[in-house]
């Protein structure tokens, strides 16, 4: 117990508050800059933390992590360009709200839900860490495979474009993700003799092309600005109230973020989309989703930020990082002589609770900074399009280059931009493509392992409880709209 108080004293001391705020602001800048992202921001800051004490270093790095998680949604809401894949779900309703002239409201909903998500995630980490360790261990290849399929089914069901287009987009994404050296034997696949494709198709380039480039071309048809005037940017207080009214969506999002967030890879992305589809399916007005429904922002944002706690479970418990950002965090811990794993819970308890305390502080900062900045940030939507478009395009191009220092990725982004524009025009769900692209490699790796494990008899995996639950959930997600249609038809026949 004294360790907890010692940790809280370190985190909430003046020194801790300053370090966390600096880290959070750096994270906000990195997260909001398309193409920079959390990994690069953390990597840039780690050398500066080496001269600090381990606790101070963790406060700064967790501050960055919190800032990145929150700020990735800002470009999603303002210019329909996610700062990270996990922020793509927020763009669906956030951008619609910004276009409607309520950018301030949308950012305030996002900040409030993010803060609650991070807070609940951090508190649950304290309580549930011992249990989540076992859940993380229960995930083998078959579970990961079913998880990937469930994620894809969720987003297909969430789109209004219909299953045919949804699955086409998702499978196309997963197929294009197979380009490059195979995960199994490193043999190049579908490179068509182009050496640059051996490394595969870059995710950052695809994401920027799909969202930023296609959106900028689409926006350029309008000579004015995204929002009509400064007067109609919405209200911060309205955003807070709307977010609090959606408390059920926030709590559901938190639950999904905590449970799904520990899955290595893209648990956060899947959690946000799971939250979005759940809210849409539970809503009495599903037709308002995609047109600026507050629950479409609040749920995914809570999920996205409660993931912070969940993602640290495998990192801290077993030393297995789930993402590049957590891998860098792990590196920083080891550079400070701290060995993650079960011994962390006995030998370095102060550091463990300093990390958890920093997550809680990050939640407070998200609320304070996020709400303070909601109005100034919303002004971006009244920048004239002839100024906004070239600036965003140039930043995006340099951002792609900064992520990999490979110029060919910029041309990949241009191709993805053409695809993204075609998708929008022809009503294919762009997010289904993106999720297919992200989940595809994870699903392939685990499909092959499961294939070998079951010797081709894939139905065997349904005997595993988690697989059976995920299979059932996938079936519910896919069949629910058909079920609703059937019930509606029967009701109409009965009334006739």
């Amino acid at each position: 117990m004294s360790s907890i108080w010692e940790s809280l004293y370190i985190v909430f001391s003046l020194n801790g508050l300053i370090l966390a705020t600096v880290g959070f602001l750096i994270g906000c800048i990195g997260g909001a800059m398309v193409g920079i992202g959390g990994a690069l921001t953390t990597a840039l800051v780690i050398p500066f933390t080496l001269s600090m004490t381990p606790a101070s270093a963790m406060i700064v790095l967790i501050g960055i992590y919190s800032g990145v998680s929150y700020a990735g949604s800002i470009p999603s809401i303002l210019i329909n360009t996610p700062g990270a894949p996990s922020s793509a779900a927020v763009a669906l309703d956030g951008y619609a709200m910004a276009k409607r002239g309520e950018a301030t409201t949308a950012i305030a909903i996002s900040a409030t839900a993010s803060a609650i998500g991070a807070l609940v995630g951090g508190l649950c980490l304290i309580v549930a860490l011992p249990f989540l360790q076992y859940l993380a261990l229960a995930f083998g290849s078959p579970e990961f495979l079913m998880f990937g399929l469930f994620g894809l089914a969720s987003i297909v069901a969430a789109s209004d474009a219909g299953y045919l287009k949804g699955f086409t987009a998702g499978i196309l994404g997963a197929l294009l993700a197979t380009i490059g050296a195979s995960l199994l034997d490193a043999n190049p696949r579908f490179t068509f003799g182009i050496a640059e494709l051996i490394d595969g198709v870059d995710l950052v380039a695809v994401m920027i092309g799909l969202f930023a480039f296609s959106e900028m071309v689409r926006l350029s048809r309008n000579p004015n600005s995204i929002a009509k005037s400064i007067a109609g940017l919405g209200s911060m207080w309205r955003g807070i109230i709307w977010a609090l009214k959606e408390w059920k969506a926030i709590l559901r999002g938190c639950g999904m973020g905590i449970v799904v967030g520990f899955v290595p890879g893209e648990g956060g992305t899947v959690a946000t989309f799971m939250s979005y589809i759940t809210e849409k399916q539970l809503s009495k007005e599903p037709e308002r989703f995609g047109k600026g429904h507050p629950a479409g922002i609040a749920g995914p944002e809570a999920a996205n930020n409660s993931v912070i706690g969940g993602a640290l479970v495998p990192t801290l418990s077993f030393g297995i990082p789930g993402s590049v950002s957590t891998a860098l965090l792990l590196t920083a811990l080891m550079l400070h002589g701290i060995r993650p794993g079960p011994t962390l819970f006995t030998n370095d308890v102060v550091i463990l609770y300093t990390i958890i305390g920093s997550i809680l502080l990050g939640a407070v900062l998200t609320m304070v900074v996020g709400l303070t900045m909601s109005r100034p940030l919303a002004l971006l939507t009244v920048i004239p399009i002839p100024v906004l478009v070239p600036v965003v395009c140039v930043i995006s191009v340099i951002g792609i280059y900064a992520a990999s220092f490979n110029y060919s990725h910029i041309y990949v982004a241009l191709a993805a931009g053409v695809l993204g524009y075609a998708f929008t025009r022809l009503r294919y769900p762009v997010v289904a493509f993106l999720l297919g692209f992200i989940v595809g490699p994870l699903a392939e790796e685990n499909f092959m392992r499961t294939w070998q494990l079951t010797q081709g008899n894939m139905w065997e995996i349904l005997a595993r409880p988690i697989c059976a639950i995920l299979f059932l959930l996938t079936a519910i997600v896919l069949l629910r709209p058909l079920w609703k249609l059937l019930i509606g038809r029967l009701a109409r026949q009965a009334s006739a």
Binding site: I29, I36, L40, L44, L164, K165, F167, T168, I171, A174, L175, T178, S182, L183, L184, D185, N187, R189, F190, F213, M216, V217, R218, S220, R221, N222, P223, N224, S225, S229, L379, V382, I383, P384, P386, V387, V389, P390, V391, C393, V394, V397, I398, Y401, A402, F405, Y407, I410, L414, G417, A422, T424, R425, L426, R427, G440, E444, F447, M448, W451
Partner: protein, 168 residues
């Protein structure tokens, strides 16, 4: 920088960005192209005899079926109720703006590879603003200069990206 009416030339705003008809030539063509992509990938995956070919083969097979079904459905819908093509309508200003933006972006990427991101930006950003109707020369200079400074600070100084070098 809020909207200032006097800075922007009086260009019409029109909305031609609604979704295309399900049975339009564009929809049919796109579904057909996706089906062809699926066929090419399926064919290529057949050449891969290792287990690494199994997953893409399954995906490509599913893609061919789905995109093929869409193509056939769209063609049948079109045959049942012929669409009114809009290609006879004169091209609108918004279409020109979108084509210009796409071309501008492509040329910027090509030129930046030779000259560096920064020098290309100094020409392309003001040019875009001018062509797209942003008429205040002082603001054009201010925006370009501020943007150049921001890029230098963010990318060149912090992220170590050579913004002003042509060696990329």
């Amino acid at each position: 920088m809020a909207i200032q009416e006097d800075q922007i030339a009086d260009l019409p705003e029109d909305d031609d960005d609604g979704p295309a008809n399900e049975a339009s030539l564009g929809s049919i063509g796109f579904a057909a192209v996706v089906a062809i992509v699926g066929i090419v990938f399926f064919w290529q995956s057949l050449q891969n005899n290792s287990p690494a070919g199994l997953w893409p083969r399954m995906l490509a097979g599913a893609l061919v079926l789905l995109a093929g079904a869409q193509t056939v459905t769209a063609i049948l819908t079109r045959l049942r109720a012929p669409q009114q093509e809009t290609h006879s309508a004169p091209p609108r200003a918004s279409l020109h703006r979108k084509i210009f933006t796409a071309a501008w972006l492509l040329v910027y990427c090509l030129v930046a590879q030779l000259t560096g991101f920064g020098p290309a930006m100094l020409v392309f950003v003001p040019a875009y603003m001018l062509v797209m109707g942003y008429r205040n020369p002082i603001w054009i200079v201010v925006v370009t200069a501020a943007f150049a400074l921001g890029l230098t600070l963010m990318f060149d100084t912090v992220a170590n990206v050579p913004v002003w070098s042509s060696r990329l």
